[in-house]
Symmetry: C2
Subunit: 612 residues, 2 copies
Amino acid sequence: MADKFMSMKNLTFTLNSRGGRYRSITPDYLSNHTPKRVDMVFKAALDLGKKVLHPMFEEMDRRPPQLVDGRVRIHPGVRPMLERLGEDGWISALFPERWEGESMPSSLLLCINYIFATANYSASVYAGLTMGAAKLILSFGSKTLQNRYLPPMLAGKWQGTMALTEPESGTSLGDLCTEAVPLEQGGSEPDQAKQGQYKISGEKIFISAGDHDGVDNVVHLMLARIKGAPPGVRGISLFVVPKFRPDSQGNLVDNDVIVTQVFHKLGYRGAPIVGLRLGEKENCIGYLVGKEHQGLSYMFQMMNNARLEVGMGATAIATSAYHSALTYCRTRCQGRKITASKDSAPIPIIEHPDVKRMLLFQRAVSEGSLSLILQCGMYEDILARDPSQTDCHLLLELLTPVAKTYPSEMGILSTSTAIQCFGGYGYCDDFPVEQHFRDMRIHTIHEGTTGIQAMDLLGRKLTMENGRTLILLKQEMEDAIGSARNHPELAKMVQEMGNAMGMLEKTSLGLGGVAMEKGPEAYLADASLFLEMFGIMVIGWQWLTMADAALVELAKLEKEGSKKKDILFYKGKVHVAHYFFAYELPKMEGLANTLEHSGQMTLDIPEACFTD
Amino acid sequence: MADKFMSMKNLTFTLNSRGGRYRSITPDYLSNHTPKRVDMVFKAALDLGKKVLHPMFEEMDRRPPQLVDGRVRIHPGVRPMLERLGEDGWISALFPERWEGESMPSSLLLCINYIFATANYSASVYAGLTMGAAKLILSFGSKTLQNRYLPPMLAGKWQGTMALTEPESGTSLGDLCTEAVPLEQGGSEPDQAKQGQYKISGEKIFISAGDHDGVDNVVHLMLARIKGAPPGVRGISLFVVPKFRPDSQGNLVDNDVIVTQVFHKLGYRGAPIVGLRLGEKENCIGYLVGKEHQGLSYMFQMMNNARLEVGMGATAIATSAYHSALTYCRTRCQGRKITASKDSAPIPIIEHPDVKRMLLFQRAVSEGSLSLILQCGMYEDILARDPSQTDCHLLLELLTPVAKTYPSEMGILSTSTAIQCFGGYGYCDDFPVEQHFRDMRIHTIHEGTTGIQAMDLLGRKLTMENGRTLILLKQEMEDAIGSARNHPELAKMVQEMGNAMGMLEKTSLGLGGVAMEKGPEAYLADASLFLEMFGIMVIGWQWLTMADAALVELAKLEKEGSKKKDILFYKGKVHVAHYFFAYELPKMEGLANTLEHSGQMTLDIPEACFTD
């Protein structure tokens, strides 16, 4: 399979064209990563994507994980892939030198994961999950836990997971009831060796990569409630709960973690999602990470990044589907121009305006999303190196629900549009787009549903520090507008961007009035629509920034003498930006209208009216 | 499985609340079908749906058709189902008495197919395809063909299909090249017995139910080009091409129709879609239906109805998914009201405003779509009984692309929203909604893609008889507005409906200007957006009509003394209408903006700019 699934040119352009007032800091934090080095790393990742991940793309879907004799059997290609990712240092890349990493900036890591996910989304999540779990141990775990768990995890030999959800506690984490009882509690004297050790009992579901035979051990970063802890979110602690625990001799012994089921999923089938029962034989030990009852706050420090990764995964799937559709539309001949003679030969379907529109839509979504995610990555990186940059923190907080949701929601439409480009063939598994459509559908659900992201944006993020977040975003957008003013070609976009900002502000103020008059429930009733509207504006900002950067590059090329393909690339970018402003940005109008006039009717309609 | 998958109350209400200036004719054409008789028929259909079709819903998906030794093996439940549908007269229902039918009006048949399709979409298409093929034979075939083929088809023993698509000719039917050579051509004298018989050779793909072991024979209504016929659509003829042809003794002999493949599809897996090779051994006979070169016009007389059936299928799947989601949202407890104490028990998720919004959206789509399809069914029925009602013909022509597309496009979002109601469980096959999401995705493709419907609406239907179609639709909508004025509660809706009509008219006029200035290609460049905008307006009209009818019923109930469940049903209807006008109708604004300001940019962007 030599399918093209991503564009390196586009990735590099997007990484380098990030805008806003922090642009000047960017080269600084990337100082250890020269453009040449970055290119090399990306090329190596793409090479791995092509040779290792992509060839398994379909087969991992067609032969999904199976529970056999208590163990989850997965595609045999995953084990060598994880070993390779470990050996070559991909899993440890973000870690400091002490762990043989290179403290890779978050932006670059997002790019690398993007490359892997365009090649094969399911295959890419294994290592990503391990990185996240390992980072939690590094950030909050004891030296003992670090020394015991990090080396095999970073080597790709042990799988890391995040174990939060329970059958009665999905979105509502405060209701989780997996229990942890201190081991030393039973004895009369405190036992040094058993400190920090707990007997775990309970049930978890929907645990990604929660068990499989591609690794020698699975390390769950698990939320549980210490016996006697306060109810709700304040009584939740974080534990390391391995499938096999090292005994005093360092041998691995069974830790009483039983796989109850493998979920049969619509897509994303290459990675197992499992249910777990803990402590059925009262022999499941968990190791406390950090302090008691602080588990949720630890987890949430990882959550922003996890949500960016979800947005990135959705973006990657949309990208890959777009490239399949593009190849098909260029080669498939069908129909003629309306004005052409009926006797003329059929033309490649890319020449039909409606097909071009479908391709433009997919680019608007996937490239706009990538740009936003890398913008967030930039704020993350600046903040990681200089925690005094609190404005970056606020921007990141504000934009994370958008960067998670816009790619995930619009990605459903984008991959659906990829199917449409193929006609009947798109509905068949002869082409990969039906799989992309299925793989995509998870992203509005995991790591917080769209409804949760919407309440986070409107209820928390927009009201932080008395609305300072929105002021900061406006400054960023005004910076982009100011820069774009240099190009007469962008005059209309500049004006429309300003109008969009004004519209959003008016809507926000209107909702503030609803909050005062009717209370918080009414304020949040239409939060999902607000998030949708906000998302369109934010992606508009990204397209304005990209159009600006593309025109700058075009001017350079014209001076230097043209490389035709490059010129077409930058011109194409500007076209897609125009498309976004003409076809996507106007959707804000209807949303603003609804947000202003709905009267929050969903609050008042009685449940009993859903009769039948 | 005792899942609820449709609401009989809602179906009957929708059938009886159809509005417009033709309302007065409605009771007349239904004269042979009293409300009591209709109820009885619907109940029998639902009973069959519950007992025969629905129990196979999941299994037909999990065990998709397989090509074994040249024959397509399908779920063993299909054969007894088809026999039952034949015996009980469901397949012959629309046919005249001569064929043991009861000349059932199209509206009622749409309702029955809706019931079957809510129970199990894939299972419902077998009989539907046979009906369509049989109707073609009845309308245009010779007595000999009728006598030979109709009895076993209407008995459910032979399968009917529509065989149009070829590998290089999907949307572009004019390019098809399956060939038909007259049998008598070879001999020196005309052979009476061989008249109307042709040797067929060629290849067909994407033939629904094109072969399976649930019947004894398969009868393809196939388009092919008689040798020497003019190129393009003017040279296409219609043939009956059976899998086994009756010989002179009446025995069935192999007709050289080979199954080349069974397509592996995203959904709709209970029904086989196959590829066929015809005449590999030069022994495939086809029987001309009607006159030479008239094939496409015959096929298109069936196409309107086929497109309504697609819209109805999409509506049915959305309905079924909604009922699953509703049941889940009523019983699944998670989270609390924002204002509730953290110690309080979790509440059913239907009480969360965002969940209510998602349920309202699904109702707005599925019930609005059903209403439009039955409205079209009404025009069809009036026209069938009185061909002088040419206005009904024009309305039907105008509304068919909408009735096909709105349910199909919005159904993708509606079933996706059903998944979202379930959270992670919606992504798993423990619940039926992921299958509904997959089953749905075919409908924007088959029987003419959305792009084709859009060009049909804007390019053909809107311009018929100098724009008379739109004037007629306006009259229908004004009738609905006039009636709704009786209810002060609908005053805002009435006003917004008027505004929407005005907006659409302005957009149409603007596009007329584009046509004059820039020609037909520019006029049609954004046709898909126009269809989307038009569809929202039309469904708004349906919701206004339903709200009006529901308020009339409510007034009656209040006089009669209340049945509480009925009151809730009608109040619910009015709520959903309000939802549609507040949340869906405003989407027209952004579309109008784009249609006015896009400058038809998709025409001008060079294909070369899709570089990477």
